[in-house]
């Protein structure tokens, strides 16, 4: 079953089920809503703003549309369900509501940056330099990045204050990786059709295009895990990329900036999470050299993915 969502949603549902199996009923209802209402974003965003402004609707009709449209988003129902369901604590309900509001409203809040790059001297970083810059910028413009920042930043602060026990390094690393992992499934999600055209025109091999994306992803993963278990973070990031290679290329989904990214299927997410957790745990708990099989696996995925990207071009 295709159930496109962010890995954090899957993890949140898994935790809820562990708390109370009855929650599956509720999750089933939400999944049904998703199937019946594929518009899992603000439906009004699907209408070009200039066209919407030109429609001869009066203020009351526009307000009505504004009020109705969120109810086509299954997350609205989930949050509303939390509000009336005693099994969910006020804090968890408020967290879900806050996450929903940020995801739903962020695109409308003008969080688009200045629209200009900083006037810093341009560093030439080799043939892939500007592509890596673009991919890093793309990652920074996802909410996944900020979720990982909260986890990685908090962990770094606690560790600096000497409050973080060593036993927490691996779970913290896995949590930070989980936050950013969906981005590995949506490597081309923010490039849009023009971006894909440019990739096809650049005289680069497919593996080079993927390498630029992988470097950006691994850099971000390392940034958030460096204060915890960086080698495990590195291995987990490689495993996340390798496991997500197929959906990233063959099941490309266009993504929105300033939102949580959305993967393609539950199966793909589960495979990725298992690979990521397995690789990071093995490196952290057993032997650092276990990072080598991760590197080999990632290299194979890069080779295969590169060929697929080139086939995609023709």
């Amino acid at each position: 079953m295709k159930f496109p969502a962010n890995n954090l949603y899957y993890a949140a549902i898994a935790f809820l089920v562990m708390m109370d199996p009855f929650v599956m009923l509720f999750v089933g209802v939400v999944a049904g809503i998703v199937l019946f209402f594929p518009l899992s974003t603000d439906p009004l965003r699907r209408i070009p703003p200039s066209r919407f402004q030109l429609w001869p609707l009066d203020a009351a009709e526009r307000r009505l549309l504004r009020m109705v449209s969120p109810w086509l988003n299954p997350m609205t129902w989930l949050v509303a369900g939390f509000a009336f369901w005693r099994g969910v604590s006020l804090g968890l309900g408020a967290l879900a509501a806050a996450l929903f509001l940020v995801g739903f409203l962020a695109p409308s809040l003008g969080l688009r940056g200045k629209g200009r790059s900083l006037g810093l001297p341009m560093l030439r970083m080799g043939p892939l330099g500007e592509l890596i810059r673009k991919d890093l910028r793309g990652l920074v413009r996802t909410l996944d990045f900020y979720c990982a920042l909260i986890v990685g930043g908090a962990a770094a602060a606690w560790r600096a204050a000497g409050l973080l026990p060593p036993d927490a390094f691996l779970p913290g690393t896995l949590l930070a990786l989980l936050c950013i992992s969906t981005c590995a499934q949506t490597l081309f999600g923010l490039d849009g059709r023009p971006g894909m055209t440019r990739y096809r025109l650049l005289p680069l091999r497919g593996w080079q295009i993927l390498l630029a994306k992988d470097i950006a992803f691994v850099s971000v993963a390392l940034l958030f895990t460096v204060s915890l278990a960086p080698l495990a973070g590195f291995a987990g990031a490689l495993a996340a990329l390798a496991a997500a290679r197929y959906p990233a290329i063959r099941e490309r989904r266009s993504q929105l900036r300033w939102r949580l990214q959305s993967g393609t299927s539950f199966g793909g997410a589960l495979t990725q999470i298992l690979a990521m957790v397995g690789a990071a745990s093995a490196v952290h708990l057993y032997h650092p050299l276990l990072v080598l099989p991760c590197l080999v696996g990632w290299s194979i995925s890069l080779w295969w993915g590169g060929r697929e990207v080139e086939r995609m071009a023709l």
């Binding site: 030439r124 330099g129 673009k134 059709r193 650049l202 023709l314």
Partner: protein, 248 residues
């Protein structure tokens, strides 16, 4: 320099391009004309390797596009239909990206970038992200990216549409000068006077087929006349309901 034989592209039951054969010599400017949906952009996409032909052969710069796409791409400059820009890069960064990928030395790249920014009047927006630029600015950026590596052949899909008159003139001058130095240009356009001014070779496509091709020297009538006759006659309709404003 550019040639194709029996080039065909089918999308399901629909044949977008139907057995096109053409040849463009080195240093020529070939203007590909035709109504919307005639197959011009699909032809450009197949000539540049953006789209695989259903059948037929394409040779550009002496190499078959489908055999070694990367080698061919190194020798081409392309202004694609959707411009091919990344929303998260500024205009400067797009040009640096091109310089890096094509391996231009630092000083050469810096000089050329400054010249292109000046010639195409991109200076005011050079640090603006492409996603926030006007359509015309984005098109000029894409054209600058096509020109920067000094390609042997240029493929430009509607380069003059949505461009201000001053920049359009500069672009025409650049293309004519480049062709005199041996750069081959293949462009599509709906602006017939501009096409007539700069092109040395014309072809008109209708419903996926070439219905007319000629060298500029062989033109005996204004291009517009030939176009209306062969591509699509102008419609002389009158929407009478437009004469009563306010009646929905």
């Amino acid at each position: 320099m550019i040639s194709c034989r029996n080039l065909t592209k089918r999308f399901g039951d629909f044949t977008a391009v139907n057995g096109i054969s053409l040849s463009v010599e080195r240093g020529a400017i070939c203007a590909c004309l035709g109504p919307n949906g005639a197959g011009k952009s699909t032809t450009v996409k197949m000539l540049t390797g953006l789209l695989a032909p259903t059948s037929g052969d394409v040779t550009v710069c002496g190499q078959r596009v489908t055999v070694d796409a990367v080698e061919v791409k190194k020798r081409l400059g392309v202004l694609p239909e959707d411009l091919g820009l990344f929303e998260d890069l500024s205009i400067d960064e797009h040009l640096l990206l091109t310089a890096d990928v094509y391996g231009l030395p630092k000083s050469v790249a810096a000089d050329r970038i400054e010249q292109l920014i000046h010639a195409l009047r991109l200076a005011p927006a050079r640090r603006t992200f492409a996603g926030r630029c006007s359509h015309g600015t984005r098109k000029k950026t894409s054209l600058a990216m096509a020109l920067l590596p000094n390609p042997e052949a240029l493929f430009l899909d509607e380069p003059f549409e949505a461009i201000d008159p001053v920049t359009s003139k500069a672009m025409r001058d650049i293309l004519v000068a480049a062709s005199k130095r041996g750069v081959t240009v293949f462009l599509t356009s709906h602006i017939l006077p501009v096409a007539q001014e700069i092109a040395t070779q014309f072809l008109i496509i209708r419903e996926g087929k070439i219905v007319w091709q000629a060298q500029a020297a062989d033109l005996t009538a204004p291009l517009e006349e030939t176009y209306f006759e062969l591509a699509e006659p102008p419609t002389h309709g009158d929407l009478t309901w437009l004469q009563h404003p306010g009646n929905a």
